[in-house]
């Protein structure tokens, strides 16, 4: 239980590194009635509440998150194979160890992010708590270094009645989610934060029920952004009984068909120019604005020949910085928080 705390993450004096008010990475946690905020201007390096897969049974409610760069963030969990054993078993580098009496990852989903099985979705047979080896239901040819992510068939995440206000990226549900990952009855308002490109982004399987998304009214911004599933699944998200108020674009999809595949009814659109709603002509189903995803699922940098020779002198003018396939920003913390102001760029040739 994490309850009733006032967490002030205001930076005092020198610049402060990326930090989070609550970092929920373990299972079976209730976090409620906390206030996480920054005094003064929005701090792009602050995350209010971070939830990390593969935690299960998380209950997050009645928290207030204000003036943070990121409000509530859910993140996926990745690991890689460190040793391949007999019968398709393997050791890995990053997952939480499980007790013999626990779920031992039985029936969990595993999607390969690298190696010969990239994008293949598998089921974990079990985790041996004594040898720390994983075994898949269907053995595969895997190699040391193959990276993967896991997520449970049922995460049991309930996030409700949280107030998220004045944040640059209010809500980013970036994990794989599950049928029991629910975000409901949360007021999400832009407030006086600027450059709020989206209020809520979803990259996995979540249910959005009864939320109030308000004031996402800057040009090109969107209240709800749907991203394609990294595991390649056809997501059937539930978007029901939400109020979209004063939003330039209520819904935006980064792959075609995401909004059409969602289960949606009872949503209300007030003062949304692109979704005029009247008694005679109800706005639902509204069309979702399609904006192609910027990034590929895997970070990929192309390195071609340069137009001329390079002098290794620290001056970078001769590098092709304007080619987006060859130059990319450095804008994450090692643990995965997005830095809203990138700290640098890299380019390869």
């Amino acid at each position: 239980m994490v309850r009733g705390n006032i967490i002030d993450l205001t930076a005092v004096g020198k610049p402060a590194p990326a930090r989070a008010g609550l970092d929920l990475a373990a299972s079976d946690v209730t976090a409620s009635d906390n206030q996480v905020s920054v005094r003064g201007e929005v701090d792009p390096n602050v995350t209010g509440i971070r939830l990390s897969e593969p935690a299960i049974n998380l209950l997050v409610h009645d928290n207030l998150v204000r003036t943070c760069g990121h409000g509530i963030v859910a993140r996926p969990c990745r690991s890689s194979v460190t040793e391949v054993g007999a019968h398709g078993t393997f050791l890995e580098s990053a997952l939480p160890l499980e007790w013999p009496v626990g779920h031992r990852y039985r029936g969990w989903n595993l999607v390969w992010l690298g190696g010969a099985n990239t994008d293949k979705l598998c089921t974990i047979a079990e985790f041996d708590a004594e040898t720390c080896r994983f075994r898949l239901e269907q053995p595969l040819k895997i190699s040391v270094g193959d990276s993967f992510a896991i997520f449970p068939p049922s995460a049991n995440w309930t996030l409700h009645s949280n107030t998220i206000a004045d944040c640059r990226r209010p809500v980013a549900l970036d994990g794989y989610g599950s049928p029991t990952s629910v975000f409901r009855q949360n007021p999400v308002t832009r407030g006086w934060a600027a450059d709020v490109a989206q209020a809520v982004t979803i990259a996995g399987e979540y249910k959005l029920i009864g939320n109030h998304l308000q004031g996402v009214d800057e040009p090109e911004s969107a209240a709800l952004v749907l991203l394609p599933c990294r595991a390649g699944k056809t997501l059937r998200n539930v978007v029901r009984d939400n109020v979209f108020e004063n939003c330039v674009q209520p819904v935006q999809e980064r792959a075609k068909g995401l909004w059409a595949a969602a289960t949606k009814h009872g949503n209300t659109f007030l003062d949304c120019p692109s979704a005029e709603q009247t008694e005679a002509a109800p706005a639902e189903p509204i069309p979702a604005a399609f904006v192609p995803a910027e990034a590929t699922r895997h970070a990929l940098l192309e390195a071609g020949h340069l137009a001329g020779p390079i002098a290794v002198d620290g001056s970078i003018d001769e590098w092709p910085w304007t080619d987006p396939k060859r130059a990319m920003p450095i804008r994450y913390t090692p643990t995965g928080d997005e830095l809203l102001d990138s700290k640098g760029r890299l380019c390869a040739a």
């Binding site: 020198k14 610049p15 402060a16 590194p17 990326a18 390096n45 969990c77 990745r78 690991s79 890689s80 580098s93 990053a94 690298g114 190699s143 270094g145 193959d146 990276s147 895997h298 970070a299 990929l300 940098l301 192309e302 390195a303 071609g304 020949h305 390079i310 290794v312 002198d313 620290g314 001056s315 970078i316 990319m328 450095i330 804008r331 994450y332 913390t333 090692p334 643990t335 995965g336 928080d337 830095l339 102001d341 700290k343 640098g344 890299l346 390869a348």
Partner: protein, 135 residues
């Protein structure tokens, strides 16, 4: 890389200053290399590390052949690396490219930033990004 306001950059080897960590490995099946970890700081000096499996001899070979330079500006500092494939233990450019990550250490706010977040150490390149080499 952006330069912190009001706090001068500080050079330092052994990850003690402002600088960049470059980690990479070749991913050809027949030519798996260890993960090479390099640290370059703002005064143009650099070093390699055996922390991710490269032997001392491999690191020494890379340090002899690699070139690194840094330049400080008012609002940003820049650096360049040049790494011969042979110094990375590869006969030629790996057809499948390289696994790579870049970490940026900033002393002013005691922070690390990464090209690709790995969930832990920046040098875990198998969880990071890829570089595809084009002709």
């Amino acid at each position: 890389m952006s330069t912190p306001k009001d706090t001068p950059l500080k050079a330092g080897l052994d990850w003690s200053g402002d600088g960049v960590e470059l980690s990479l490995r070749g991913v050809n099946t027949a030519e798996v290399t260890p993960i090479f970890v390099l640290w370059g700081t703002v005064d143009g000096t650099f070093q390699g590390s055996t922390a991710m499996g490269a032997s001392a001899a491999q690191i020494a070979r890379l340090q002899r052949s690699a070139r690194y330079a840094a330049r400080l500006g008012d609002a940003e500092w820049t650096c360049e690396w040049q790494l011969p494939f042979a110094a990375l233990g590869m006969i030629a450019a790996p057809a499948k490219g390289l696994k790579l990550n870049v970490g940026l250490r900033t002393l002013a706010d005691d922070s690390w930033a990464a090209w690709v977040p790995t969930g832990g150490r920046v040098c875990e390149v198998d969880l990071a990004g890829e570089v595809q080499l084009r002709n």
